[in-house]
């Protein structure tokens, strides 16, 4: 059999099913009980722990690790989930190397943090596998809240509100819940259909109904929601993508990395996902890395990631850059795309080197490409929104927008990093504020 990886153009089945399965298994395999004990034993139970301060959801990390040490992973999970209801997903997708684990004092003493992410996963996995949903609804309040978007921000907000006894309706534009947990996160970070399992588990609290295929701005209006509900929480994420230049026709043939990733995540048979022999990814964030790594894992022969500024300026962490390099992705920095041409059905994309202020140097190079993925950032779409702050919905610290009765959080709202864990924190905090507000009205 000829090596399918050498086949020109865009083709499915470049690797055997077995290889694909190996390639897309857990990036960090879960800890077994003994490994968890050993890892937990390293925690010093710090006072006013720096790791907790670094966690956007303020999980009491020393307490949950101690609960693991004493053989009580379910108690540990409850400590985690009380602060972060998507603690299971966050354990898998958080860039811990720039959050809790970066702050761990073990870095100071021996350059090696406690494995907080993996311990969090150990606890939450045990709970979800072995225990019923750990939270109960308070008595019904009769108040109704609309949540728009069933991503991490929307789900987190809905759960907290339901816990307080409010009735929640989530309006979700897609036909599946989860947001980018389901459509964006790299496959090897969330294996085994975890995103849907987590959504189902979260909804066990009761009092939340999800209406799929309902979009704000298409049939649903903000005014209508305000009329029908006691409060509205907007968590629509960033549905659009930035364009490479003002003239889209010049880049005909370039696809959005998020669409590629979404298609990959929804595929039930990885050997049916087509990938180019030569793939170029433009961008320097998590999405660019995820697209490049997954292209490589699907069997692309050459994957080149090109970022316009220097390596140090990449939004992707050093860990992620190293991950890409270890999978065979070639990283080129300080170069911006200038033109695209097509010859005999193949694309040729030309880049020009530039310095960190994006001043071109005049030197150019050209890469052949069967596929080009653009990953230069997502943007907010929808017309029927409260006032913006720059390119996002303006909110205060509690998530209130400038429209009374409307809160927003997650990627669509101003402030905070665009991370799953930040979205969860903002959803939770908005729920607290909504709850406080509803109690007085």
């Amino acid at each position: 059999m000829t090596d399918q990886r050498l086949k020109e153009g865009v083709a499915a089945g470049r690797l055997s099913r077995d290889t694909l399965q190996d390639n897309f298994c857990d990036l960090h395999p879960p800890l077994d009980p003994h490994q968890a004990q050993v890892a937990a034993d390293r925690c010093f139970f710090c006072h006013d722990a720096p790791c907790t301060t670094a966690c956007p959801t303020d999980i009491d990390i020393p307490l949950f690790i101690r609960q693991i040490s004493t053989g009580m992973p379910h108690a540990a999970a409850k400590t985690i989930l009380t602060q972060n209801i998507l603690g299971g997903m966050c354990a898998r997708v958080c860039p811990t190397e720039t959050l809790c684990e970066e702050a761990c004092v073990r870095n100071e003493s021996e350059g090696d943090p406690v494995q907080i992410g993996l311990l969090q996963r150990y606890a939450t996995d045990s709970m979800m596998a072995e225990r019923p949903h750990p939270f109960e609804r308070a008595a019904a309040t009769g108040k109704r809240v609309a949540v728009v978007g069933a991503g991490p921000a929307g789900l987190s907000c809905a759960h907290r509100l339901a816990m307080y006894g409010h009735d929640v309706v989530i309006f979700e534009g897609r036909n599946k819940s989860g947001g980018l947990n389901e459509f964006g996160i790299a496959t090897y970070k969330s294996v085994g259909g975890f995103a849907q399992r987590e959504v189902d588990w979260l909804l066990q609290i009761g009092g939340i109904s999800v209406e799929h295929g309902k979009r704000l701005g298409e049939g649903l209006s903000l005014d209508g929601l305000k009329q029908d509900f006691d409060a509205v929480f907007l968590a629509i994420g960033l549905g659009g993508v930035n364009a490479l230049s003002a003239d889209p026709s010049a880049w005909d043939g370039v696809t959005n990395a998020v669409d590629f990733i979404g298609e990959l995540r929804q595929s039930t048979d990885l050997s049916s996902v087509a990938i180019g022999r030569d793939v170029v990814v433009i961008g320097g964030g998590m999405t660019a890395i995820d697209a490049a790594v997954q292209a490589k894992l699907l069997g692309a022969l050459n994957v080149t990631l090109v970022y316009r500024r220097s390596k140090a300026r990449m939004a992707a962490s050093e860990f992620e850059q190293d991950l890409a390099a270890s999978k065979g992705v070639v990283l080129i920095t300080s170069a911006s795309p200038v033109s695209l041409s097509k010859e005999a059905g193949r694309m040729q994309i030309t880049f020009e080197y530039s310095d960190d202020d994006l001043q071109p140097t005049g030197e150019r190079f050209t890469l052949p490409a069967d596929q080009i993925f653009s990953a230069i950032g997502q943007t907010l779409v929808s017309n029927d929104l409260p006032a913006l702050d720059g390119r996002k919905i303006a909110v205060d610290a509690t998530g209130r927008t400038q429209t009374a009765g409307v809160w927003a959080g997650g990627d669509c709202a101003s402030g905070g990093d665009d991370l799953t864990v930040t979205a969860v924190a903002e959803g939770r905090d908005a729920a607290e504020d909504i709850h406080a507000q509803l109690a007085t009205s």
Binding site: H34, D41, H47, M72
Partner: protein
């Protein structure tokens, strides 16, 4: 619904976790913080008689032993009783008790061994509204040299006498805190019981020298070139404390006497074990001193989760259930025969079980050329050493030889009925032989 609520001698606390009389309970500031952190009760740092308070050393008063990763395993101290004025302490106790009526507040006392001294302090304590007193007959250093603490606790007659004085002059529960620095804990416990004690608490710290500085040839902690023996506590002392608690729980004379267990309680599990051995509450010192008051949160959540898993609604549902299973050696069933079994899938082939058995036990493990380790049933005496030295948890287990089967080591058929030393033919005093 699981409840950790505790009723010990009529003193109620929301959970069985009390702070032992020691630095964590030295003053109002600490005790308030402890209650805020969730502790069910405290035993206030031991008060002495009116007058100028004792003074502590001004150099290091603690020494310790650690695991390889600095986990503190044992702590040693040469601290005395409170070095703060009696009346300041009493004022603080009164204020704190008034503000925390739902928590247990016990006052620990140690005054000279004469009736006048005890009868002088008791009304003052009564006045604070505290829930009870604990007589510190345990402190093994410093105070003992002055005829107090363990110097009293080592003489059962003194214990009985002082306890009786206190019961006469004080209306609320009297707990007697015992020293482990004796040969048989049952004697001081019986004395406390005879004196009318409502409960005993144990253990106080164990006489110890925790380490020797080999540069200066002095015990540590070292004060100006020399040192003194101190009191040992922390995780390392728990096995000793558990034995003593069990001895009191199963002694015919003291059976039923309430026990507040102390010694190495660090996690919920330690507490559950003590309660299973009969304790009504547990007291904690070193764990709080190592990790801060917040450590109680793990104890509370862990104990209630475990109880919920087991279907226990209250502490009474499992209290004492292990105490009745602590027996004398002579009562152990010699017809209970087991053999070690090595799980080859889990074995990492380190050879530790082999060399332990070969060099120091019964030469009952076989090692093949390609490092396969197997137990020889005809040699294995089931000592459990291999289980304890194997680095892989659960890799070596003990399998019972069912009655009716042959024990290959003895060639005998294993008997179904209980047969212990009291009836064994090799025992010259066995009841059978006597017949």
């Amino acid at each position: 619904m699981t409840s950790l609520e505790t009723n010990f001698l009529g003193i109620k606390s929301p959970n069985p976790f009390w702070l032992a009389s020691a630095p964590p309970t030295d003053k109002e500031y600490n005790v308030r913080r402890a209650f805020e952190a969730g502790w069910g009760g405290v035993v206030w740092k031991t008060l002495g008689s009116e007058g100028p308070p004792v003074v502590n050393v001004n150099g290091p008063r603690y020494g310790a032993i650690w695991g390889a990763d600095r986990r503190l395993l044992g702590l040693n101290n040469i601290e005395l009783i409170t070095d703060r004025d009696l009346y300041v302490n009493l004022e603080e106790i009164k204020r704190v008790k008034a503000d925390y009526p739902d928590r247990a507040l016990i006052v620990s006392l140690m005054v000279p061994c004469d009736e006048a001294s005890w009868k002088a302090i008791l009304p003052l304590v009564e006045e604070t509204g505290a829930d009870g007193i604990e007589l510190n007959f345990g402190c093994p250093h410093g105070m003992a040299e002055r005829g107090m603490g363990s110097a009293v606790g080592q003489v059962p007659e003194y214990i009985e006498m002082v306890t009786r004085w206190c019961k006469e002059a004080y209306s609320k529960p009297v707990i007697v805190k015992l020293t482990p620095n004796i040969t048989d804990i049952r004697h001081p416990a019986r004395a406390a019981h005879a004196g009318g004690a409502d409960a005993v608490s144990l253990i106080n710290t164990i006489n110890s020298i925790v380490s020797v500085d080999l540069d200066n040839f002095a015990p540590m902690p070292t004060i100006d070139g020399v040192g003194s023996h101190g009191g040992y506590c922390g995780p390392a002392v728990k096995p000793i404390a558990m034995h003593m608690v069990a001895e009191i729980a199963r002694d015919a004379e003291t059976a039923g006497l309430p026990i507040s267990a102390i010694g190495g309680v660090t996690t919920w599990r330690d507490a559950a074990e003590f309660i299973a051995l009969g304790a009504g509450t547990v007291q904690v010192c070193t764990a709080a001193m190592t990790y801060g008051f917040k450590v109680v949160q793990e104890m509370i959540t862990g104990l209630s989760d475990w109880m919920e898993d087991q279907g226990y609604e209250t502490l009474a549902d499992f209290q004492g259930r292990a105490a009745v299973k602590v027996r004398d050696w002579k009562d152990l069933n010699l017809n209970f025969v087991t053999k070690a079994v090595i799980d080859q899938d889990q074995c990492i082939k380190c050879g530790r079980c082999y060399i332990a058995c070969e060099d120091t036990s019964h030469q009952a493990i076989d090692m093949s050329e390609d490092r396969i380790f197997t137990v020889k049933d005809d040699e294995c005496v089931a000592c459990n050493l291999c289980v304890n030295v194997c680095p892989v948890e659960g890799c070596i287990t003990m399998k019972r030889i069912e009655p009716g089967q042959i024990d290959e080591r003895t060639g005998q058929v294993v008997q179904a009925e209980h047969g212990d030393w009291t009836t064994h033919p090799n025992n010259p005093m066995s009841s059978q032989a006597a017949e």
